[in-house]
């Protein structure tokens, strides 16, 4: 997409980053010991913690990714909202309280408080690191996407910027500052989502969703002459070439020296050419947007309705609509989405974004991304189940979520925090449906990245709203990345260096080791954020959930609910969960595409690994524990929480 710099957005951006850094410095002065660095000394109020929980959880993935995926794939994006929220149930009902009683600073400590096992220390710290890194990738990708329209910078600049700011925050302060930052940001995100939803409903629907006084781009439709499926003429356009890509036909036409791509479709026995958007990349790296250089700005935001049906009648626009009317109108109408096709033409890499007319009925059902209806393969059904399983089980096993259980005074406070968070997050997730659908029909989508749907929708309703939302989204990423880097540095400095390698560091050296670890993880996250550019961040988060669910959750559940669990059982279970989920992800069709290979040739068809890796980790924990029962007699009393309580 082609964006110019927005000075108002820049103003709010600087203001928010300044606020975040100011808070960090303020609280840094209070941070003196390792205990206050990692867990805020247990002094955070439950209500602040609850909203901070929400702030933690409503990461870039929720705000940018889910809205983007709903805008692109309809209901399939909402599956993430349902699954993310449901995951809290596992966290609250099964894990929150018992873990609080066992817990110290990190997930590894919780396991080690029962088993004094070096194997667990090692595997759990590695698992925490891997999950954190996988959760960091989408945050960084989102950061890069965010600065593009916000500041007019390229993607990589945003990634580097977030990385540097967060490393600075983490190195200068600790958990206390990020809790308050997350609190402010979580509250603002909820408020702004409500305002955006209000605007969407007030705006209603129109076939011509023009923005800021400019009408929506009118896509050209031509009636060509076709012989043997080849276009031979198309009005006053010259036919240049034709490409067949995965069952779709694309035709390059020329007029007034400008070459444009069209999609050839057959409708009711007649051929038509529908204008598509295109980006052509020459070998030298120069880009042509719709056949013209970037400076001409002939590339458009998209997403519109081709039919609006109200009370059985086709209309051009509606006035303001209620929330249920909004959803039911989309279901009865017709939406134009934009699909992507890539191919080579005259030595140039061409990406075409062509119109894909979708009935509202299909858009409001699962199936556009995760095919589960008629004709769906067993793989796609398994992928759907696997995704839902990972989202359900992943939340409770995320290291940066668990760490907040230790920042309140009592179990009752931890529970109250969690419930406040569930209420806040639940409301937000219902709103994602409206924001995502609003973006789909209001001509605001950036075809190059779905992640910017919600902020770009805000821009359609006013630059102030856009700049504030962008600033909050940026702060969202900032806070989440800070939390993850703290969890990662805790795993390295505390779990690995102190507990596993027993370096016997002093308190001061421990904090220093944490800061150096934060720097290393931050740099690594920056590199990965640049490499994964263009992917939907919710999809990437799904991977982090899959690994967390497979590696950490079986270990936690066995520890809490099965007396015969042994240290070896836990360690092997974590290792199995990490390795199996990583293997399935790295050999998935999506990663095949990233490697530049044909996704169809991937060794399996699963994008989400949990359906295989989670049961494997469970079985290993059970079997290895049974085999190693002789190790268990020392630990059995500690495992039983009831005995701990007594």
């Amino acid at each position: 997409m082609i964006y110019g710099i927005s000075y108002i957005a820049l103003f709010f951006f600087v203001l928010f980053v300044g606020l975040v850094l100011g808070l960090s410095f303020y609280f840094a002065r209070k941070t003196k010991s390792a205990s206050s660095y990692y867990a805020a000394g247990g002094q955070i109020h439950w209500a602040v913690n609850g909203i901070a929980f929400a702030g933690d959880y409503l990461s870039a993935a929720s705000f940018l990714g889910i809205c983007g995926m709903i805008a692109t794939f309809g209901f399939d994006g909402f599956l993430y909202s349902i699954g993310f929220l449901a995951g809290w149930i596992v966290a609250l009902f099964l894990i929150a309280e018992p873990l609080k009683r066992l817990g110290k600073y990190t997930f590894t400590d919780a396991l080690n408080s029962t088993f004094k096992s070096r194997a667990i220390t090692l595997t759990a710290a590695i698992s925490t690191l891997i999950v954190s890194v996988f959760y960091l990738i989408p945050q960084m990708v989102g950061a890069g996407d965010l600065v593009t329209p916000l500041l007019g910078f390229p993607h990589w600049v945003g990634v580097v910027l977030v990385g540097i700011v967060v490393i600075f925050i983490v190195a200068s302060a600790g958990m206390t500052s990020t809790t308050y930052v997350q609190f402010i940001k979580g509250g603002l995100l909820l408020l702004l989502s409500l305002i955006l939803t209000f605007y969407i409903l007030k705006n209603g629907f129109t076939l011509n969703p023009g923005q800021n006084g400019q009408s929506y781009h009118q896509f050209i439709t031509l009636a060509p002459s076709v012989e043997n499926n080849k276009v031979v003429s198309a009005g006053d356009w010259n036919v240049v070439s034709q490409q067949e890509v995965k069952g779709k036909s694309f035709v390059k036409l020329e007029k007034d020296g400008v070459e444009r791509w069209f999609n050839l479709v057959e409708k009711d026995g007649a051929y038509i050419l529908k204008e598509a958007l295109s980006i052509a990349e020459s070998g030298k790296g120069s880009l042509l947007y719709n056949g013209l250089p970037k400076e001409n700005a002939k590339f458009f935001q998209v997403g519109h309705m081709s039919k609006i049906i109200v009370d059985g009648k086709e209309v051009e626009k509606t006035g303001p609509v209620g929330p249920f009317e909004f959803l039911s109108t989309i279901e009865k109408s017709e939406i134009v989405r934009f699909a992507e096709a890539k191919f080579s033409d005259e030595g140039k890499k061409v990406t075409v974004y062509y119109q894909n007319v979708t009935s509202g009925k299909d858009f409001m059902l699962p199936g556009l991304k995760y095919k589960i209806g008629k004709g769906a393969s067993i793989w796609s059904r398994l992928d759907f189940i696997s995704l839902m399983l990972a989202l359900f089980l992943g939340t409770a096993a995320l290291p940066h979520i668990l760490i907040r259980y230790y920042t309140v005074k009592s179990q009752r406070d931890a529970r109250k925090s969690t419930i406040l968070a569930i209420g806040a997050i639940g409301m937000f997730y219902v709103l994602t449906m409206f924001m995502g659908l609003g973006a789909a029909v209001n001509g605001v989508l950036d075809v190059e990245s779905s992640n910017m749907a919600a902020p770009l929708l805000a821009r359609a309703f006013g630059v102030i709203l856009f700049s504030v939302i962008s600033a909050v989204a940026f702060a969202t990423i900032l806070g989440t990345v800070a939390g993850l880097i703290i969890a990662s540095s805790g795993a390295i400095a505390h779990d690995l260096l102190d507990n596993y390698f027993k370096l016997g560091l002093s308190d001061v050296k421990k904090v220093r080791a944490g800061k150096i670890s934060a720097f290393v993880v931050g740099v690594f996250a920056i590199i990965l954020g640049i490499l994964f550019k263009g992917m939907n961040v919710s999809f990437l988060v799904g991977w982090a959930f899959s690994i967390a669910a497979s590696a950490n959750l079986p270990a936690i559940l066995f520890l809490l609910f099965w007396k015969k669990t042994t240290a070896k059982g836990i360690a092997w279970s974590i290792a199995t969960g990490v390795l199996s989920s990583l293997f399935i992800i790295l050999t998935s069709p999506t990663m095949w595409d990233r490697y530049g290979l044909d996704p169809a040739t991937a060794i399996h068809k699963l994008d989400n690994p949990a359906i295989i890796s989670f049961p494997m980790a469970i079985i290993v924990a059970y079997v290895v524990s049974l085999i190693t029962q002789t190790d268990n007699h020392k630990n059995i009393q500690q495992i039983n929480l009831e005995q701990v309580d007594a």
Binding site: I89, V90, E331, F392, Q411, R412, I419, I422
Partner: protein, 94 residues
Amino acid sequence: MHHGPAVELGVDNASKKKARLGVWFFFLYLFFYGGFVAIGVLNYELLSQEIVAGLNLALFYGIGLIVFAVLLGILYNNYCSRFEDEMNKEEKTV
């Protein structure tokens, strides 16, 4: 460096009861969540049926799962607080 919990925790006689309630609530939610996934995989067409206010079953069920999670969370908190008040109070009087 001592690495104990941030705040020391007292005796909690309600722990067992709360854990049992949590497990029950978890399975209750799992039943409905699993139901949604099962309908999607086994009887996909059912999800397109209109339920109320023009919403199809997919939307109704999906939003319903979110609301149900919030309600169940509130209920759980109330029960747990009641257990703690009752059982930990008994301890003191004994």
